[in-house]
Symmetry: D2
Subunit: 328 residues, 4 copies
């Protein structure tokens, strides 16, 4: 059965959905949904509570909140302000739950992951571009220099990707954490989704940190409380779908159509003789090897990534430094 779930998604919500669609109950995983009708925002919480749940889901134990708002792709400033307000609430909630020590002002390091030069991967760098950076000002002049009662110390880094730096991102982040001792990290990253309709209108916040590649295993390169020593809250937006995923989905539709078809009842009979693993093999064989390294992304990706990254930076700014101004 597992083979079917290998297809990559970075959204815990989508992983859970796959099991739901097969009426498979996953032990140790809880799902809650709520819908804000007025603002048309759907909030889904996936809690992976046990190691068994983590293994089945292919994602580490933790809480994953997903905000879905189809209009997020629309350039409506007022609506984006509402999304930023909502996102701010969840950032506060995650901060409160994950940073144990209670302080008036926290030191927060924002990490903008990804490659600034590849548009769908530029979400993290773009968010950092619009942040209010305060740490150096507060350290030099005190927090009242910001004209605020409450100002967190905000620092930020855009580490680049391994092909640009020759280093694992965790090496860079760990080094910076050791020097600057932040209380918490917010790590922003572009994600891959299964479903193209979630592209650029979904935000996932998770308290599990960043797990490059497969999710579980491969701990060495993860950016997590375990590897860097402070809580890591991940904020992600799906901007691409793997090309193989889209093909695979359509093939599954075709096989399902064949299985249920009135006119194709004969085929159905034969295909029902295949088990899931055999069908997966059949599909894999037919998917062109040229699809490796290809991704699917919308034509207006440049505009959409800019808009959503601005919304995320507004939420972070409202939360961390209410009246400050971005450095550009």
């Amino acid at each position: 059965m597992i083979e079917k779930y290998i297809i990559r998604t970075d959204l815990a919500l989508e992983q859970k959905e796959r099991f739901e669609s097969d009426h498979v109950e996953v032990q140790g995983v809880i799902l809650e949904e709520e819908y804000d009708e007025e603002r048309e925002i759907k909030i889904t919480t996936v809690k992976i509570e046990t190691e068994n749940g983590a293994k089945v889901m292919g994602k580490p134990v933790g809480t994953y909140i997903t905000m879905e708002a189809p209009n997020m792709a629309v350039p409506d400033e007022d609506y984006h302000r509402e999304i930023a307000d909502e996102l701010k609430k969840y950032l506060e909630k995650f901060m409160k739950e994950n940073v144990k020590e209670k302080k008036e002002d926290y030191s927060v390091l924002v990490v903008g992951l990804g490659n600034r030069k590849v548009t769908p991967d530029a979400l993290g760098p773009y968010v950092v571009d619009h942040l209010n950076i305060t740490r150096h000002i507060v350290r030099e002049y005190g927090k009242y220099a910001m004209g605020e009662e409450k100002v967190h110390l905000v620092s930020a880094i855009v580490p680049g990707v391994m092909a640009q730096t020759g280093m694992e991102t965790v090496e860079i982040v760990k080094g910076i954490v050791e020097e600057t001792k932040p209380d918490v990290i917010f790590a922003i990253d572009a994600l891959a989704a299964r479903s193209s309709r979630r592209l650029n209108c979904t935000i996932q916040i998770a308290d599990t940190g960043i797990h490059p590649g497969s999710g579980v295993g491969n701990h060495r390169n993860a950016i997590t409380r375990e590897t860097v020593g402070v809580p890591v809250i991940a904020i992600g937006v799906p901007t691409v779908v793997d090309a193989a995923t889209i093909v695979n989905d359509t093939m599954e539709n075709l096989i399902a159509a064949l299985e249920s078809s009135e006119t194709l009842r004969g085929v159905g009979v034969v295909l029902q003789g295949y088990n899931a693993a055999e069908k997966y093999e059949l599909v894999k064989e037919l998917i062109s090897p040229h699809l490796n390294g290809l991704f699917v992304t919308p034509k207006d990706i440049d505009e959409t990534v800019k808009r959503i990254s601005f919304t995320i930076s507004e939420a972070l700014n409202a939360f961390l430094c209410p009246q400050g101004h971005a450095h550009n």
Copy 2:
């Protein structure tokens, strides 16, 4: 039968291949192939000679030369110089065949089509970035100011896309042609391919100008000798595949596998009862509507488009202004 050929490709070569694969002879279309073994460059010439050929092919009458070199995606400077040399030969050939009046020095307008801010669409603007622009210098100081015996007057424009300008590109180009009277236009554009293995390693040169969208019909917005008054030589590189194309291809593979399968002989029997149009309908129904507006492109597209656009500008520079230097 025609339905099958609706799937979009901007490469005449790929359109022809589809008919070949069905052993369909298209009247009025000639195909020639040669292979430069040493340099591993395959040259294919498709000549559409009649209006009937144009109608079947969905592309206007004219000559289309395709250079395929799998290593074009590899960052090998020497190899790129060889490709630029080869490309230069075809640019000269097209120029000689299409510009009737014989002069010592021609006035050439290079048009960099596409959207600079969307990487796979930025080929045209990037090529213009690296051109040696000479028209203003030659007009001011004479051609000997360039230190050359032979210097064409090179001008260039990056008109932007309609969402940025509110104008059809042909309106902009036509206006500039009327004011500056070039002898010929070279128009550079990113293309869509059918096959992902052709992405970023194929260059098509055609004497048919630029036909946005479907190719035939829709003459109003085309950039051709008819609409702008001077010959338009198009240089294109496929940088994306429509998401629907990739899905469609794999589905065809699946159907073919089902039809020929030993174990699935029963399905084959049923599907053979479907004609091509019915199969196309079945596939179309199963392709998600969310694929509209999505394209497939490689992860390293930024780097690849930069490299190949540099190769094209080197070929243009070598041809038009041998010893000059790019403005940046």
Copy 3:
């Protein structure tokens, strides 16, 4: 006397000031000032009414309005909205006075002059980046597609500079005007000021079009009603000071100090024997030839140009297409 006034400024206001400071009355030039105390915006209107006035001022006959607001350089969104509101009023006024034919909806071409790749020269391209482009939508679907009672047809072009295109900008603009027949052009350009304190906090609107270089004379390359056939309203912001200007100013201060100095009375005696032209020659000799081609600009120019270009595009959007949305 005239030599002194050769030092370059693109602001009519600054040219007028030089004469004022010498108590020279210029015939045919009127100056009016008003000050909006609440919003701290100073509005100066310079009207050059006669050819003689134009000759003395080194600027063509027409109306020049300058908005000065020292806080324009400060990143205060509310304040920038107020500036955009004020600017909108003057755009409406100039449009009404310069476009004779009365229509409900005008066709407006915005030209973003300058070089996108050189920050202080990128004002025009940046303004165009944030415009609501409507012409193609209104032409395709009618103006109600914009959800507005009143929508002007907005088109825009970023022509590039001559080193990039090989063409005079007026050739490009004239060609586009002939093809698309706008009622009026708004041309946005970065300017050079005399005084560094006006950098990035001053907007000049003029109904005289664009005069590259010296201002009067050199009509061939100007973008004006005479050369392109429709009224051209110029919007400019000073972003640089010529290096030679800054040096010259300080030298004049030094000479003035020497002339008036108690302790240096002896020097005064000698320098008073010099006339203005001789002093100018002395200064010119001492200014390093290495200053040619150098300009002076603030360290935060990138941020400042982005902010003020956004303010200008907001004013244009509010005026031309009240509820639309920018393409990016």
Copy 4:
């Protein structure tokens, strides 16, 4: 006397020149010059050998080599290759002298200092863009994966400036050094010169690391062997002159002219009564406070910085990874 030397220059060569021009012998500082006539490259070596020399020069003890080549600003590829070859020699020399432990393959961290978004400050980031990054490949596949006998482990970081990160650059670099243990750092930075004729045609290599601001004192923020634990070789190119410097220089010329003038002998008499400090005060008073934060840079700075950063990255690539290819 010292006041005169406060005017900022990052070039040890220029600091030394000021003393030379006053026939002042600085103890503990040695200057050597050689001129490569064929290639028109002037090489100057300044060695600051004692703490006293460092105090007078306002720069730390160490070796500073300056390559001056007026044609560096010209876009001649062959000539840039020669400069890269020459630069490579000095990089090898500094590496050999500063890294004590002898290995076959060194681990080298390249730090691209400065702000990518402000052209004259983007030298460091641009150099990193064109580097062959090898560390991750060698660590994963061994050095033979690079097809080379000798491959250093090259990693790189573009840390950003404090306004973007909220952190001192040394905090970021120190953290990364502790995690990744390089043998040596090459730090690339844009510099300020005194003389505009040195802009963009001068490269300084120094074994003293990076000293933000004044040079001596302020050790806390320096990036040196003392602060980060490994040798730091600095490579810099002057891209700006402080506006105040240019004004000051011209004023000194004026005063000198007045002092020596035949016709102004009377002035000379008075000014000779001023000592250096008094003259400096006079000049300072006359320089506009609006010059603070302004810099002088050439109109073609974008193009020039790109070209020279490419030359530096070619020298680093030739030295560190002879046959590799840049990641973009």
